[in-house]
Amino acid sequence: MNFSELFELSGLLGRFSPDGKCLALCVQHSLVVRDVSSLQVRQLYTCLDKIQYIEWSSDSLFILCAMYKRGIVQVWSLEQPDWHCKIDEGSAGLVASCWSPDGRHILNTTEFHCSLSLCQLRITVWSLCTKSVSYIKYPKACQQGVVFTKDGRYMAVAERRDCKDFISIFVCSNWQLLRHFDTETQDLFGIEWAPNGCVLAAWDSCLEYKVLLYSLDGRLLSSYRAYEWPLGIKSVAWSPSSQFLAIGSFDEKVRILNHVTWKKITEFEHPATIASKKTIVYKEVEKSPSVETERLSFPPTKALASSLFSTQSKYEISQVPVSLQYIKPVADRANPKVGVGMLAFSADNCFLATKNDSIPNAVWVWDIRRLKLLVVLEQLCPIQGFQWDPRQPRLALCTGTSRVFLWSPAGCVAVQVPGEGDFQIVSLSWHSSGDSMVLLSKDNCCVCYLEREEVK
């Protein structure tokens, strides 16, 4: 495993381009685009303000940089460095900005926009090809309010009109409204397309456990409700095959629905004590560094010094039963730190990684083929994020330390990012080829290259 040098970064804004050739990094006002293979700077753009959000267009030709404070979106072209585009939303209050799947339209969600007499949220669709501007009225400001199907043909928008929730489905090619229907939700919280683009899952806010499944043509396929009064859904994820819908909730369980009957197949509990003999518990163990004589000569002195002060860690297999560190949630606080807040399916559908927020140091990996808990990774620090390799069943996770952890069915490793200073990795994202990933800290980032032989 190799690591690049550390690059400056702000706002955790480091993104690989969809084609995997470039890496865009933001440093305050400027946007640096580097070549992934050589890490040479390909382009450097300067924006009008501190960049708060960047996004690559699907064809990797353009990058949009959003500056929400100023209400400005700037778009840069990779092929034509001179080309520029600036969208000013004025005082309308820019809330969100994103590319349409074709990479030629930008969807800006604005807050203060007046239509007729009432002031409502509005989505403005700006085209880079024509002068035409489209508006989508009454979008709802929620976590996942605008979603596109994987093939980029359809867009679903959560709407709120007159204190009622609706969903609109648009055709992306000409922004024509295809379907519009109301949902039986109190407060629609999020929507998500199934990867096959035929089923849309919509779920209510955490006050009520409710998942609604709609067909592309707006028919309600099914609705699922596990319980009534306690806090409900916290996270939702589709399996890449669209076969399963995993729902993580505040009761520390993941429920998996199947795509035929839309009924629950199984329930994954996240107890603090793991007793099953079939589960492997990897525990991260810190070990004090030992100064080896061979190492003294080879690395530069700075690195040595830093390695002397930082501790190394490795995984050990704990003997079951294992009790994990459980943080009792404060009962009288809103948004209690309990329940399954993160879940992700591996690219091959075989594994599901989850994190229970009341056991922040552990990642649970479930075997979907057997519907059993396979592995628990117990870390020393709270999990900041994890992501599956897009090509193979391999999970990378970070814990706010200068170490990156990898799990695959073959085993798991903890890798120390070499280098001086404090490099606290709080986020990571894989390259589309699965050969490298970018590790992000608050002020820095680095690219981690994985060798294929090593991982097998």
Binding site: S127, C129, Q176
Partner: protein, 581 residues
């Protein structure tokens, strides 16, 4: 009991007197007036004599005799007067009467004693029963109290239960109430939220109006030049046509998805069908005897199974052509039937197995068990061999480890091992030989013993013959006397004597064994043979020899006991000892 008797005897005797007296009185009273007359002076008499002494005096002797006579006659005794002579006493009859009276008294005494005893027994029984009664009464009381206590507890528990039920009901009500409260609050909350949302929107609108009016900033997009679309086409206009096309496309997408899903399901179905078919085949192959039995049983069954078979064939042929709808019922039915058969079969097997376990009359089972045992024995043997192998290997390894440096040593070890094995083989042969030798030696010793016995017999014969000759030559006058006495003795109680001797000797074999055997084993053996033969001869036909062998009687006796108590083996051992190197 002894104590009781000693104490009560005098009391009884005095009592008995009284009783006697009372009985006589009782008997007396109804009889005549005279008795009363007679009795009158009795209590009034003031001398210190007893009642009996006062009864008869010099003066009233006649009357008293008469009185006694009367009494006796009334009691059924013969008259004490001589019948012929009137007033003359018949002494014999008097004595007889007295005797009988005494006997009667004794009898009465005994009876009384018995009665007393019985009385005592009954009294104790009574006591015991009374005790029992008291105890039982106590128990009754106790159990009554217990019952009361239990009833009380039961009542308490019931009341507790009732309370708990009440509590539960209350709790349920409470829960219901709370749920109602929650739901009402939720609806209220939702309503408020909506109101606030509306208010918020209004406020936002107002704010925008206030802000926007002042600095009317233009919302615009500045682009250097418009870029081409990703697909190179121009954007289409929105028309009804496009709408229809969109609709169409959407349905196409949905359709393709459903088609894909259907294909998947078809594949899945096909696979499942395949599995089903295979299972069916396997079941059929498993169940030929099961199927034949019902056929034989009844014609109906035959028809049914035939039908079934037809269906099965039909299924096999058309399985893949027909859709599931039409075949399903037949298929499921046939599968179900076969499954039932299989189940029955398995159950039957289970029963057989259990029966075989309970009673081992199942021959097959026994055989299998034997086989099993044989197998286990074999395996154990193998294990033993393997262990030995391992042991030798380990030894070798150790040796190898100890002298790893030189290969020659290893080779030597190998040779050594070989040699060892050879030696072991030889040792085994040697052992066998030894065993054979032992056997031979034993037979040889037996032969030697036999030879010795024969020799002894011969010697004896010779000795006898010499003695006979000698006796016939020397003593003629002493002959008759010497012969008669022992012979008579012998002839009369010959058998008994032997028996006595043998039994007396059997009781003390150790003392006999100790002396001569340990000291002179050879001699004793000689004695034995000698005496046994001698005795046989003596008992049968040679009484004259008894005197001669008298001095050796003790040893002879002991030898007999030996023979009785299996001394032959001991003898052999002694002889054996002699022969041992």
């Amino acid at each position: 009991m002894g104590d009781w008797k000693t104490i009560t005897v005098p009391v009884l005797s005095s009592d008995s007197k009284n009783i006697f007296q009372y009985t006589s009185e009782r008997k007396r009273s109804p009889t005549t007036m005279n008795s009363q007359v007679l009795r009158l002076p009795l209590p009034s008499s003031k001398n210190m004599h007893s009642f009996f002494s006062a009864f008869c005096t010099e003066e009233n002797i006649e009357q008293s005799i008469a009185y006694i006579d009367r009494e006796l006659t009334t009691l059924g005794f013969p008259s004490i007067y001589v019948e012929s002579k009137g007033k003359e006493l018949n002494l014999i009859s008097v004595i007889n009467c007295i005797n009988e009276l005494l006997a009667l008294q004794h009898k009465n005494l005994r009876a009384q004693e018995e009665v007393e005893m019985q009385h005592l027994k009954l009294g104790s029984d009574m006591d015991h029963l009374q005790n029992c009664y008291a105890k039982l009464k106590e128990q009754l009381e106790l159990s009554k109290r217990e019952i009361v206590g239990l009833q009380e507890r039961d009542r308490q528990l019931q009341s507790k239960n009732r309370n708990l039920h009440q509590l539960l009901k209350n709790e349920k009500d409470e829960v219901q109430k709370l749920q109602n409260i929650i739901s009402s609050r939720a609806t209220q909350y939702n309503h408020d939220m909506k109101r606030k949302e509306r208010e918020y929107n209004k406020l936002k609108d107002r704010l925008r109006q206030l802000v926007m009016n002042k600095k009317d900033k233009k919302i615009a997009m500045e682009v250097l030049n418009y870029v081409g679309r990703a697909d190179g086409k121009r954007g289409a206009w929105r028309t009804d046509k496009t709408e229809a096309r969109n609709e169409e496309e959407m349905y196409k997408v949905l359709l393709s998805d459903y088609e894909q899903r259907q294909k998947q399901l078809l594949v899945e179905n096909a696979e499942l069908k395949k599995v089903l078919q295979q299972m069916k085949k396997e079941i059929i192959s498993l169940l030929p005897p099961q199927k034949q039995k019902p056929k034989e049983r009844s014609e109906d069954g035959l028809v049914l199974s035939d039908l079934e078979e037809d269906i099965g064939e039909l299924n096999k042929e058309n399985m893949w052509e027909l859709s599931c709808e039409t075949v399903r019922e037949q298929l499921t039915n046939s599968i179900r039937k076969q499954w039932r058969m299989l189940k029955n079969h398995v159950e039957k097997l289970d029963n057989q197995v259990s029966r075989g376990h309970s009673g081992a009359w199942n021959e097959k089972d026994v055989i299998s068990r034997e086989d099993h045992e044989l197998e286990t024995e074999k395996l154990e043997l193998e294990i033993q061999q393997c262990k030995e192998m391992i042991k030798t290997q380990q030894q070798l390894l150790q040796q190898q480890l100890t002298c790893d440096d030189e290969t020659t040593l290893l080779l030597q070890d190998c040779y050594l091992l070989e040699e060892r094995e050879r030696l072991q083989e030889e040792w085994r042969l040697f052992q066998e030989q030894k065993k054979n030798f032992e056997k031979e030696r034993r037979s040889f010793t037996e032969a030697a013993i036999r030879l010795g016995l024969e020799r002894k017999a011969f010697e004896e014969d010779r000795g006898m013959w010499l003695k006979q000759q000698f006796l016939s030559m020397t003593a003629d006058c002493k002959h008759s006397e010497n012969v008669t006495t022992p012979s008579a003795f012998l002839r009369s109680s010959d058998q008994d004597n032997w028996l006595v001797k043998s039994t007396s000797q059997q009781r003390k074999p150790p003392s006999v064994l100790n002396g001569p055997v340990s000291a002179e084993p050879c001699q004793t053996s000689q004695y034995i043979t000698h005496n046994s033969i001698e005795s046989k001869i003596a008992g049968d036909s040679m009484p004259n020899l008894w005197v001669e062998s008298d001095d050796k009687e003790e040893t002879g006796e002991c030898t007999k006991s030996w023979e009785d108590s299996g001394a032959g083996t001991l003898l052999c051992r002694n002889l054996h000892m002699e022969q041992l190197p």
